[in-house]
């Protein structure tokens, strides 16, 4: 008996696969996990009019400073601030306004790009107040919310005594808990998003998170960009076809490193960061054929 269930959460699909687990126990865990995911979504979703981050953005737009009551939002802000320092500014959640402008195909002036380059958040941990630099700052956590939620899912599973499981968040954030019941690990291959049948990367995962980030659009050979990722240092749009795979002990940290590497490219050496940041981080640049550039 193996358990599999799927949810829609945070704008994507969430798959929970738990080997050798019965339906009743699996369903009970799923309920607990669903409640956890909903809490994260309510805290961090920029698409919800009443989410904690939406309300925070409204206050920051007016006052450039606001107290944060929501504990999950504060946790995310602390981690984002840590990520900013860890990646030397390559991971920056303060550029949502520019991201949104690119997404709407609006013209972005050099001054606006520069404003983003200077934008960042500042945290006063004693008073739990966040302040921003620059009048036009909009916080966008991107995939960080999924990473944080996946870390919480791992805690739920471990607390319930679940040793083995495979959890996928939109196939871009993956928790490989324990090992496959017929193997010593979970074997994962990441296919090339542009070339059918070509394997981009392979992994033997045991108690690890795999994060996959890409700028590549849907459809073989379409050549388009899936998302409007922005270089936080220059405010320019990343117009290169890139995919990054990151493996580590934390889903949230994996999101930070993966996103930073995706926008920084060769300018960021992940190997030079804290030793515990990631087991591996690989950048694949599709339109030049370069790959495997472990930084």
């Amino acid at each position: 008996m193996n358990y599999h269930a799927q949810l829609e959460s945070m704008g994507t699909r969430f798959d929970l696969v738990l080997p050798r687990l019965g339906t009743s126990r699996g369903d009970a865990l799923l309920l607990q996990i669903d409640a956890e995911l909903q809490q994260w979504e309510q805290s961090l979703s920029g698409f919800r009019a009443d989410s904690a981050v939406t309300l925070l953005n409204a206050r920051l737009a007016r006052d450039h400073s606001a107290a944060v009551d929501d504990p999950l939002l504060w946790q995310a802000l602390e981690l984002a601030d840590f990520g900013y320092t860890l990646t030397q500014g390559w991971f920056n959640i303060a550029g949502g306004r520019l991201y949104a402008a690119y997404k709407r195909n609006e013209a972005v002036s050099p001054a606006e790009r520069q404003a983003y380059a200077n934008a960042r958040i500042y945290l006063d941990r004693a008073t739990r107040v966040v302040s921003t630099q620059g009048a036009d700052t909009l916080l966008d956590f991107g995939g960080l919310g999924k990473g944080l939620a996946l870390d919480a899912v791992k805690d739920i599973l471990e607390a319930a005594g679940v040793r083995n499981g495979f959890v996928s968040f939109g196939e871009s954030s993956i928790l490989a808990l324990g090992h496959h019941p017929n193997g010593a690990y979970w074997s994962v291959v990441v296919n090339d998003p542009l070339v059918r049948g070509k394997i981009l990367d392979t992994f033997s995962l045991r108690d690890r998170f795999l994060t996959i980030s890409s700028t590549v659009a849907n459809g073989a050979g379409s050549g388009g960009l899936q998302s409007h990722l922005v270089d936080p240092r220059s405010g320019r749009l990343i117009d290169e076809q890139r995919t990054v795979t990151t493996v580590g002990e934390s889903g949230a940290l994996g999101e930070i490193i993966s996103t930073a590497k995706l926008v920084a490219g060769e300018q960021l050496s992940v190997a030079s960061l804290s030793a515990s940041a990631a087991d591996s981080c690989r950048l694949f640049t599709h339109n030049t054929g370069m790959d495997g550039s472990y930084a």
């Binding site: 196939e171 296919n191 059918r196």
Partner: protein, 431 residues
């Protein structure tokens, strides 16, 4: 000059969609006109002559049909007619003075060099003009709804049967690849059992058109939609489109209808309801829930096809699944676990989208955008040249108008109204 590239792009996409649809046996029964259209080659049709068409009624909708017809290579507008001077003058200007202009449609019907007419007058005039035109041996395209009364709808169908000419009614969704693809997918069982359809059309305006100098003698001529003598209001001017869609997706006509209508906001002397809510009952307990209002536009218009496995929203071209299919890699993993197999879990692939995958925004039923009114007029002109109506179209239009008028009757009486047996059409053979 009309924009040929836009027309050609539409046409190419249209043919592509239709050729796919035409290959499906299910389409023959749900959209027999589509199958017939797919076998047409319109590209060289104009070389063998053009359909010579007159337009009767060149108000707001008539003008739109005129502009669309001007883009059809195998159609030529040879005459225009309107009794309202501003529309009359505008029609002459729009056709560059090349079309003969009439105030009385009966004079137009006597023209010798004309093949067909387009009727876009106020609703109460449809029946007698259409019957006169068919009697004059002309093909007719009539804007929806068919007629103001049940009896007139029936008279129009009988007049069509008694003639050797075409009667086509303007329901452009029947030519829209989104709707055609959606009904094909619904019939394949993709969204499961459909037991309920919800449809609505909401606007926020008084539905009035300006009367020059406040001349009260022109009020009913211009604002005919507001008076029961001329129109059933929201039911015939808006709802009939969506009633056609519901009948089509249920592959049935309602057994009865109940409803409530009121003038609850625009209390300005109008006679037709500004707010309607109805339930149409179909066989096996299936229902259409319908409402329309004109003092709130937040929800706009939509037809929601509610199945046990999924939902389609046709106006916005979306399909949603109750249980999204798992990613192929996850599906394989689950199967492997069940069989005790240990192998690689494939993540991604050539069509893989990191980060987005399945979102709550659903998916498009069909990619692309279409001008269904343009395609509808192109088809009519082709039917005129071929001298052959596309099968199934008149039935859809007839049942849509009957449903709209029965809904009005239910609201007026405050009682459920059953579908009278005499307003059923005999089945058409599948082409």
């Amino acid at each position: 000059m009309p924009d040929r590239s836009a027309f050609d792009a539409d046409r190419r996409q249209f043919i592509r969609e239709f050729s796919i649809l035409a290959g499906l046996t299910s389409v023959a029964s749900v959209a027999p006109w589509a199958k017939a259209l797919a076998s047409e080659d319109f590209s060289g049709m104009a070389r063998n002559g053009k359909a010579r068409i007159g337009i009767i009624g060149v108000g707001q909708r008539g003008r739109a049909l005129l502009l669309n017809l001007q883009q059809v290579p195998h159609a030529e507008i040879v005459a225009v007619c309107d009794i309202y001077p501003p529309n009359f003058e505008r029609a002459i200007a729009l056709t560059g003075g090349k079309a003969q202009a009439f105030v009385d449609y009966r004079d137009m019907l006597e023209l010798r060099d004309i093949d067909a007419v387009v009727v876009a007058t106020p609703l109460h005039q449809h029946a007698h003009i259409v019957i006169d035109a068919l009697g004059a041996d002309l093909h007719v395209f009539c804007e929806k709804s068919m007629a103001r009364s049940l009896e007139d709808c029936q008279r129009m169908v009988e007049a069509d049967k008694g003639s050797k000419r075409i009667l086509q009614i303007g329901h452009q969704r029947l030519f829209n690849p989104v709707y055609l693809r959606a009904i094909e997918r619904a019939r394949s069982g993709e969204i499961g059992d459909i037991t309920q359809i919800r449809a609505y059309w909401h606007r926020n305006n008084n539905w009035r058109r300006p009367v020059p100098d406040g001349d009260s003698r022109l009020e009913k001529q211009i604002n005919w939609r507001l008076y029961k003598e001329f129109s059933a209001g929201l039911m015939t001017e808006l709802a009939s489109h969506q009633l056609q869609v519901a009948n089509w997706f249920f592959d049935d006509i309602p057994s009865r209808v109940m409803g409530s209508g009121s003038i609850s906001f625009w209390r300005d002397g109008r006679e037709v309801y500004d707010s309607v809510a109805l339930i149409y009952e179909y066989s096996d307990g299936r229902k259409l829930l319908y409402d329309s209002m004109i003092n709130n536009k937040h929800y706009g218009l939509e037809e929601q096809i509610l199945g046990s496995l999924g939902t389609m929203e046709l106006e916005t071209n979306r399909i949603y699944w109750e249980n999204p299919p798992p990613a192929p890699g996850i599906k394989q993993l689950v199967e492997d676990l069940d069989q005790g197999v240990f192998r690689e879990i494939p993540i991604g692939g050539a069509s893989w989208v990191p980060e987005t995958a399945v979102s709550q925004a659903g998916a498009a039923i069909v990619e692309g955008e279409y001008s269904d009114t343009l395609l509808q007029m192109e088809a009519f002109a082709a039917a005129v040249l071929n001298g052959k109506a596309y099968p199934g179209l008149l039935r859809e239009a007839y049942y849509a108008t009957i449903a709209a008028l029965l809904g009005e009757r239910a609201m007026d009486s405050g009682q459920p109204v059953a579908w009278p047996q005499q307003y059923r059409m005999p089945p058409e053979p599948v082409v």
